[in-house]
């Protein structure tokens, strides 16, 4: 069994798999958290009785996170076309 593992380990590109894992984890978790923050800000913006300043701040947060998400999607599209 161990011989099989050793033989296979030379064939498997562990470094490449590691890079894929790290990059995917960073972008996926980052995007989901960013989107979640946008949803949270939107929820706070819609809350009745919130102060005007708080509403403005939340609206700005929604706009910023939305721009970041759209930028990531545009990058995704660009990458699909030009990879």
């Amino acid at each position: 069994m161990s011989a099989v593992v050793v033989a296979a380990s030379g064939l498997i590109k562990w470094g490449l798999l590691g890079k894929i894992l790290v990059l995917s984890a960073g972008i996926s978790v980052g995007l989901v958290v960013l989107f979640t923050l946008a949803v949270n800000s939107l929820s706070a913006y819609r809350r009745e009785g919130a102060a005007a300043l708080s509403r403005t701040m939340n609206a700005a947060a929604v706009a910023l996170t939305s721009v970041a998400i759209v930028a990531t999607l545009v990058w995704g599209m660009y990458y699909i076309i030009h990879k």
């Binding site: 296979a8 064939l11 490449l16 999607l73 995704g76």
Partner: protein, 391 residues
């Protein structure tokens, strides 16, 4: 070698494979979107189908060789490609009937490797390539996706605890539509090109095209439409397993799963190690279940799917080898017609069987374990409904 008859048969069976690839993989892009009600079932598959066709036209940079680095390219002949395609179609259709999401790419590679073994023996197969390009990524991809989706779901769930449920559901569902669209385009780009590569290879092998010729426009249109049509018409049985069988998805889980799938697939393509969309999507959905408070996943269903993944290469390979041996036994021209007819007959029988417990847009979201169950004989663990309110 010029044999227009064999060439036409290969092109026809390649389009058939393209179609099954489409309906088999619809679930990868839209299952969570449909399960959470982010889009109506027919609207979701229509969007996915259209974007798969768009994706097919976006890029033609994938290598125009099938199973490159896995089987000896110099030993490939049209009957091997034909037999490999029949093996892949048979496995795709059989797993579709059982509602099992298995990789169409692995089925195709298995079919071609099996046919090549029957044609030229073990020396024509590059076993190291099979391990490094197929087996290792096949094992790693669902695990990667599961872990990442579990982390993303956990974080998202905790961060939105104080948000009002209506805004949260609306927001996450809107996000799902965007991530589903991205996934559909990526799928069309990757998978339609797989068939374009086969047809181009057949044209080159037949002497119809020069060695380094570009893929003809008619091939691009044919493959794009084939995968798009398959995406629109089929896949309900697998959509049901992916959307309802693994876990009960909330919009937060669905969004986390779809973002994870899109990013893992694009990242792996970036590093030149394309992973199976099916394995990644299934891993992400399972991970989104693990990321819930009660870790609600039906592991019995996941285990059954994992067994099918293990069987994909050998089973499609056996079908491909058998198909090639039949072709050789009766002569390649008649043999291809015969194996083609056997494949069509098999598909017709499976289609007829599937009408007994029909799954379609109307019942795809029924409670798991209810009527018209593709996996009804699997004993499943009841899953507690997510606490998130559905708008």
């Amino acid at each position: 070698m010029h044999n227009s008859f064999l060439l036409v048969l290969v092109v026809l069976i390649a389009v058939g494979f393209d179609f099954t690839n489409g309906f088999h993989d619809t679930a990868n892009s839209v299952a969570p979107t449909i399960a959470t009600g982010a889009m109506k079932p027919r609207t979701a598959v229509l969007m996915s189908s259209t974007l798969n066709i768009v994706g097919a036209f976006l890029s033609l940079k994938v290598a125009a060789t099938i199973a490159s680095g896995i089987v000896s390219q110099t030993s490939i002949i049209l009957p091997v490609v034909f037999a490999g395609l029949t093996g892949a179609i048979i496995w795709n259709v059989a797993t579709w009937y059982l509602g099992i999401p298995s990789s169409s790419s692995h089925a195709l590679i298995g079919g071609v490797v099996g046919a090549m073994l029957a044609h030229a023996g073990g020396h024509a197969v590059e076993w190291s390539g099979l391990v490094s390009k197929v087996l290792a990524p096949a094992t790693a991809s669902p695990i990667f996706a599961l872990v990442i989706a579990a982390i993303a779901t956990t974080l998202s769930r905790r961060l939105t605890q104080k948000s009002d449920s209506t805004t949260k559901s609306w927001g996450m569902r809107t996000g799902q539509i965007g991530s589903s669209a991205l996934l559909s385009i990526a799928h069309g780009t990757n998978d339609a090109q797989k068939t374009m590569g086969i047809v181009t290879l057949a044209l080159v092998a037949n002497g119809t095209l020069a060695d380094n010729a570009a893929t003809p426009k008619w091939v691009v249109v044919m493959c794009g439409v084939g995968i798009g049509l398959g995406t629109y018409l089929g896949g309900w049985r697998i959509i049901r397993t992916m959307g309802q069988g693994f876990t009960k998805l909330s919009p937060t889980q669905g969004f986390a799963a779809q973002v994870t799938s899109s990013v893992v697939i694009l990242s792996s393509s970036h590093f030149g190690m394309p992973l199976s969309t099916t394995h990644v999507a299934a891993g992400s959905i399972l991970g989104s279940g693990v990321g819930t408070k009660k870790r609600t996943v039906r592991w019995a269903v996941a285990g059954r799917v994992a067994v099918a993944w293990l069987l994909t290469l050998p089973a499609a390979g056996a079908c491909g080898a058998l198909s090639f041996l039949i072709e050789r036994l009766v002569g390649f021209s008649f043999g291809q017609v015969l194996t083609g007819l056997i494949t069509i007959g098999f598909c017709a029988v499976i289609f007829k069987l599937s009408r007994r417990d029909r799954i379609n847009a109307e019942n795809v979201n029924d409670e798991w374990g209810g009527h018209s169950e593709a996996l009804e004989h699997v004993k499943t663990t009841p899953v507690v409904e997510p606490t998130e309110v559905s708008a």
